[in-house]
């Protein structure tokens, strides 16, 4: 059976962070059970698109927004709905993103009781000043407490950090990274701060009031991160994700392998197979509009069919993010297209790609300039008959 994952988007946040361009909204009060019921309805709509011959679920992910604002009961309601709609495999990975604030830490036990077996904590920084600047509502102490608490409750724990922050030096980041590794978590997501359009940071950046590390320093920080984590037994398996071998996030791999996933909740995207067709689904972004659509019609999803060549392109641009090899033989069979051979040869000569036994991967140098590599590879060619 093909791997299949379910992504649930919880659109609410206690506060909007200035760097974040995810679909998140601040609302004073809402009935989280009502939203959970809406999500359950939209799940069934996805299942209908898939038809009767549905794959089993091997991963569920609550993302946001801030899913740790949900009550345990709301999370349980969604999980029950998933189990009613699909077969959920026994070893399914069930992840919830959580903030480290005390209130949210208080719900960890409830989530575990509802079936969540992996938690991903939004730590972002390990010092209070930077946390304040990033617009976070928790302290470094909160973060550490959350990590320790989670380790006792959940079988699997991961946390996120943002680096290459304004004015951050290489030394500061190295020290912070060492501290992060000292918790012994099996998985870390380490993102370089990126200025996304439409965010508060984008405005500051445009006005010259947000000075980020230069390209060269950012590159060194990236390389250092890769090396330090690898030495600590958490090698990168994707551009920004590190794990003890075997502890990779199954959910994230679904995206990067370009397998099927349902996306429900405001603004969520999905990629599903419906008969012979590959569909992209997108849920309504605005929470209130989403809720009324779901309550009135059962779904807010807009669907578009993805042409084979587009799908092949999507697969490529996700797959090369992984350190694992991309099997070109399988890729050709799956899509009937292949990346430009000429580009592969050129990139190989430049030391940015490795090709062995018809398997492709970016080199360490290549991973730093992956977007440029993708641009060149994405000149797809139909496989000669």
């Amino acid at each position: 059976m093909k791997p299949f994952a379910v992504y649930v988007h919880w659109p609410f946040c206690a506060r909007k962070c200035p760097y974040c361009d995810f679909n998140s909204h601040v609302r004073d009060r809402y009935d989280d059970m009502r939203w959970a019921r809406g999500i359950a309805r939209e799940l069934r709509a996805v299942a209908e698109l898939q038809g009767p011959d549905r794959p089993a679920v091997h991963s569920i992910f609550f993302g946001g927004g801030t899913p740790s604002l949900m009550s345990g009961a709301a999370a349980a309601h969604v999980l029950d709905a998933i189990a009613e709609t699909w077969t959920v495999s026994d070893d399914a990975e069930i992840t919830l993103e959580a903030n480290p604030n005390s209130v949210e830490r208080g719900r960890f036990q409830d989530y575990r009781a509802a079936g969540v077996n992996r938690i991903s904590i939004g730590v972002q920084a390990l010092n209070d000043q930077d946390l304040r600047e990033l617009g976070r509502l928790h302290s470094a102490e909160d973060a550490k407490a959350a990590i320790r608490l989670a380790a006792g409750i959940f079988p699997r724990v991961s946390f996120d950090l943002i680096y290459a922050r304004p004015r951050q030096t290489l030394e500061q980041w190295s020290a912070e990274l060492e501290e992060a590794l000292s918790f012994g978590t099996e998985h870390l997501s380490l993102y370089q701060l990126t200025i996304e359009p439409g965010t508060a940071y984008a405005t500051l950046h445009r006005q010259g009031r947000l000075i980020l590390p230069e390209e060269d320093l950012a590159a060194v920080m990236f390389e250092t991160t890769q090396n330090v984590c690898a030495r600590a037994g958490l090698p990168p398996y994707e551009i920004s994700n590190h794990a003890r071998p075997g502890a990779e996030s199954r959910h994230n791999l679904t995206y990067w392998h370009y397998d099927d996933y349902a996306g429900v909740g405001p603004g969520a995207h999905g990629r599903i197979t419906s008969g012979e067709r590959r569909l992209a689904t997108q849920a309504e972004r605005l929470p209130e509009k989403w809720l009324s659509a779901v309550e009135e019609t059962g779904s807010s999803l807009a669907q578009t069919e993805i042409r084979t060549e587009e799908a092949a392109e999507e697969h490529l641009l996700m797959a090369v993010r992984l350190t694992e090899w991309l099997d070109l033989t399988a890729y050709r069979t799956r899509w009937g297209f292949e990346p430009s051979r000429q580009a592969i040869r050129r990139l190989e000569q430049q030391g940015l790609l490795t090709l062995e036994n018809d398997q492709l991967a970016a080199t360490a140098a290549g991973r730093l300039v992956l977007n440029s590599i993708i641009r060149e590879l994405a000149a797809l060619e139909p496989v000669a008959a």
Partner: protein, 600 residues
Amino acid sequence: MTDLAHIRNFSIVAHIDHGKSTLADRLIQFTGGLSQREMKDQVLDSMDIERERGITIKAQTVRLNYKAHNGETYVLNLMDTPGHVDFAYEVSRCLAACEGALLVVDASQGVEAQTLANVYQAIDAGLEIVPILNKIDLPSAEPDRIKQQIEDVIGLDASDAVAISAKTGLNIEAVLEAVVMRLPPPKGVEDAPLKALLIDSWYDAYLGVVVLVRVVDGELKKGAKIRMMAANAVYQVERVGVFRPKQEMVERLGPGEVGFLTAAIKLVADTQIGDTITDERKGATEALPGFKALQQVVFCGLFPIDAAEFEQLREALGRLHLNDASFTYEMETSAALGFGFRCGFLGLLHLEIIRERLDREFNIDLITTAPSVIYRIHLTDGSVKELHNPADMPDPVRIDHIEEPWIKATILVPDEHLGSVLKLCEDRRGRQVELTYAGARAMVVYHLPLNEVVFDFYDRLKSVSRGYASFDYHIEGYEEGELVKMSILVNNEPVDALSMIVHRNRAEMRGRGMCEKLKDLIPRHLFQIPVQAAIGGKVIARETIKALRKDVTAKCYGGDISRKRKLLDKQKEGKKKMRQFGSVDIPQEAFIAALKMDAD
């Protein structure tokens, strides 16, 4: 036909923005040439580009009927002339068709270099000049000071200057009275062979080629057979008419009258501005004075970014040429840019106008190569070759010496910016001819090599004088110069579209400037790219574009896939705006931007 005593032919001389077109609008409105509903701003500037830039490119005329205070009705022919030095010859032909001119001066800005050049031209053409002080309604207006300036700088009696506001319509009637009372009527002989001046011509979708004429002697009749004396071509007149400003057909035009004719002329290129039109039989033996064939002074290559658009470019140039025969184009092949056209223009503004029209009216993305002037290459075998394109430079061993065109530039600049203007002229190899003061302004006359002016001199002049300097020039002649061809190599490959002819003393500075600019203009690639300037085999400047260090998206999950793919598609589009040289992508704008010098 109107008797000569009741005709006045006049044009308006003004600097850009001093209100020439607005005054023309008011005169048309006042005399009832158009109803209120039909009026829009700058009626006579029919092209979008003319309205937007506030410049007139094509000459236009309008016939106005005006009942003067003395009770008599006059026919006034207003000629709207092109207002830029690039079109100096067209201006001169317009002026030759008039007996008088209104000199419009902004009552706060005062006389500018361009005004000066045009008014001297009008005076030289024997025109009677009536000074008009415009924008008198502005609080900053200083009519007395400007009157004094007109007297000091131009040497015209300004005591009777008419103070107006074209914008508010103040004193428009006084302008019309001055036209009638102060400008002389035309002279001409009715029963003489036809002599008419060809002022301008253009292509009209309904009428074909329309020829604007001023009859000097004789009469121009519908159905008559006419001869263009310089072109030596014969046509039968199909229509004769006048613009009010709408077309109105008439049977004939007599001496002193201005109007148009159509005669089944296929191409605007068949009509030459300044030509004399006469009767085919028993025509005039002597043409009107002042005819010159048009001379292109600035040349550049135009190449489609997308090689597949070459045919579209050819067609677009052909269509534009229908209406503007004053630019030339011929096919050119560049090793770097493929197929394109080498085009000749009357000046830089003219070049820009054509380029902009190609982009705007035909939607063709272009690469414009470095503008060049015409060099005269004297070869060792005694022959002389005209060089329009640096790529065609002969082997240096075959060259005896090279000559380049020089101009005489007149610059008016407020005292406080004089130093920077003098420095700019000196840096551009200028030789000072004259430096005089009029009030707080200096008038500087310089001899300058045209190739130092052709690209960005005007921009630099505006920038060093904070926009206060005004500039005008005409070509003086050729002088020998120590000129060399400088090549630019990107990733060790010469890019012919970037090569240029420079003076030896300026080569290193220009080369360094070009390399520095290209370093910023060419995006980082996955590999390091050397950029060099060289004369012959000798590298005179070098920069290195460092390899791209980091270009990777930090976060990319399920929701981002569609966005990333769209971004990828957009980047593929963006790549189309680049031109590939070997393995290096050079953005379209780099070709011109690389030539701009920030400071000398």
